[in-house]
């Protein structure tokens, strides 16, 4: 809970900073910080929160799914945990992993670890990642998992996602969501047949066996998350 509060605190701080970029008076007059004009101009660089580390408590969220329904993790009462994947339509890495994300969901949903996919991109910067395009993509590819839209871009900074795809494996522990693994799906986006290490599968298998996750963090190249607040002219 503490972590959650801190996370939310950092997030609101970051957003405040964002809105205050153009006005040092922002703090004294919070009413003006919410005007549309201020938001539009607040495209100067802001420091994003650091995001979660393995072992941190993660926050739940409520985001709109492609079917128009709001989805939160708490709805999945039978789940032991979640494979949260920040992903999108346009990115070649995300595209390359679509089939493998479906496979993960197919294999682990029944075992208590469903895939929850979230598109964190601003469609104004990447039109292929619009909500409408998400629906089309999910339908065409036959997504079996929720594909949520982080429309306000409030969730991904708290998690600390920086790119697509970016996986956060969560496990329920005493009604808390604990981050168990952060990183890539496997070690070869380009050639699925040449994959040597299936990072996410290995991690979920360890959790299912009641064992600690051996490799808790990996890195891979991904498409940076498109956000006006981190964009440079």
């Amino acid at each position: 809970m503490k972590k959650l509060l801190i996370g939310a605190g950092i997030l609101s701080l970051a957003f405040t900073a964002c809105n205050d970029v153009n006005s040092s008076k922002g703090k004294e007059s919070p009413t003006t910080a919410d005007t549309t004009a201020d938001k539009k101009e607040a495209s100067a660089p802001v420091t994003m929160p650091e995001g979660y580390k393995v072992g941190d408590e993660a926050m739940d969220f409520k985001l709109k799914n492609i079917d128009g329904q709001e989805v939160s993790l708490a709805q999945f009462t039978d789940a032991k945990g979640y494979i949260v994947i920040f992903t999108c339509n346009h990115c070649p890495y995300a595209k390359a992993y679509e089939g493998r994300i479906k496979d993960l969901d197919k294999k682990y949903k029944a075992l208590g670890y469903p895939v929850i996919a979230i598109n964190p991109n601003d469609p104004a910067l990447q039109p292929e990642d619009s909500y409408e395009a998400m629906k089309t993509n999910a339908q065409e590819k036959g997504f079996t998992f929720p594909y949520l839209f982080d429309e306000k871009q409030e969730v991904y900074p708290v998690y600390g996602a920086t790119k697509t795809p970016h996986v956060y494996l969560l496990q329920k522990e005493n009604a808390k969501l604990i981050v168990k693994y952060i990183g890539a799906i496997d070690d070869n986006y380009e050639k699925p047949e040449a994959v040597k290490a299936k990072y996410v599968e290995t991690a979920v298998d360890a959790l299912l066996a009641g064992k600690p996750v051996a490799e808790t963090k990996t890195v891979a190249v991904g498409c940076s998350i498109k956000d006006k607040r981190t964009q440079k002219s």
Binding site: P92, L125, Q126, T162, K163, H166, G183, A184, D187, N188, Y189, E190, K191, A194, V195, K196, A197, T218, V219, A220, V221, G222, C223, S224, I225, K226, T230, Q231, K232, S233
Partner: protein
């Protein structure tokens, strides 16, 4: 094996020299501004060397008193493609100084001829070009470039004599890039 790597390195350095049309050795390169080589060459034929990360790290380890601005990019990466003209322009402005641009494409090997080379040619992006064809070992080489890099591109590193002086994940504005270069020249 070591010899083979050494040889490869020599070949790489030579091809890099050829690519920049800079005659002579590296010291000359530093002391004498490049005269013949201007990015306004309409007939620019980009040469892209395909490397594994070990070879790239050797390039970054060059002991030539030159500040190497190393940018990781890809043809499909919108923010990368957006910032590249700043890099080209800034380095052109500073062509009399001991600073060079190394562009490392993370496009796939299979798209080298179909996408990367035509793109560089069309844009007239003169630099030392590499394509890092090492997608099965990202978890190994990304931390070697920078322990804090989680793989999002664009990313830019400054190296001099094998020492990494700065690393930035994400887009750089033209002013930020200039300031970073000035600081470490």
């Amino acid at each position: 094996m070591k010899q083979a790597i050494g040889l490869l390195f020599a070949v790489l350095s030579m091809s890099a020299c050829g690519q920049n049309k800079v005659g002579g050795n590296k010291e000359q390169d530093v002391n004498q501004p490049v005269k013949k080589d201007t990015p306004l060459n309409e007939n620019y034929e980009p040469e892209v060397t395909v490397v594994k990360h070990e070879e790239l790290l050797q390039v970054l380890n060059e002991q030539n008193d030159t500040l190497n601005v190393v940018n990781f990019w890809a043809t499909w990466c919108v923010p990368c493609v957006k910032e590249l003209p700043h890099f080209i322009a800034t380095l052109q402005e500073m062509k009399d100084k001991p600073v060079k641009l190394i562009l490392v494409s993370l496009d796939t090997r299979s798209s080298l001829e179909s996408a990367v080379i035509p793109f560089l040619k069309k844009k007239n992006f003169v630099a030392r070009h590499y394509l890092l064809d090492d997608n099965g070992r990202m978890n190994e080489w990304i931390p070697k470039i920078d322990p804090g890099w989680d793989g999002a591109i664009p990313a830019t590193a400054l190296y001099k004599n094998g020492k990494k002086l700065r690393f930035d994940q994400g887009q750089l504005s033209e002013n930020e890039l200039k300031a970073n270069i000035q600081t470490h020249l």
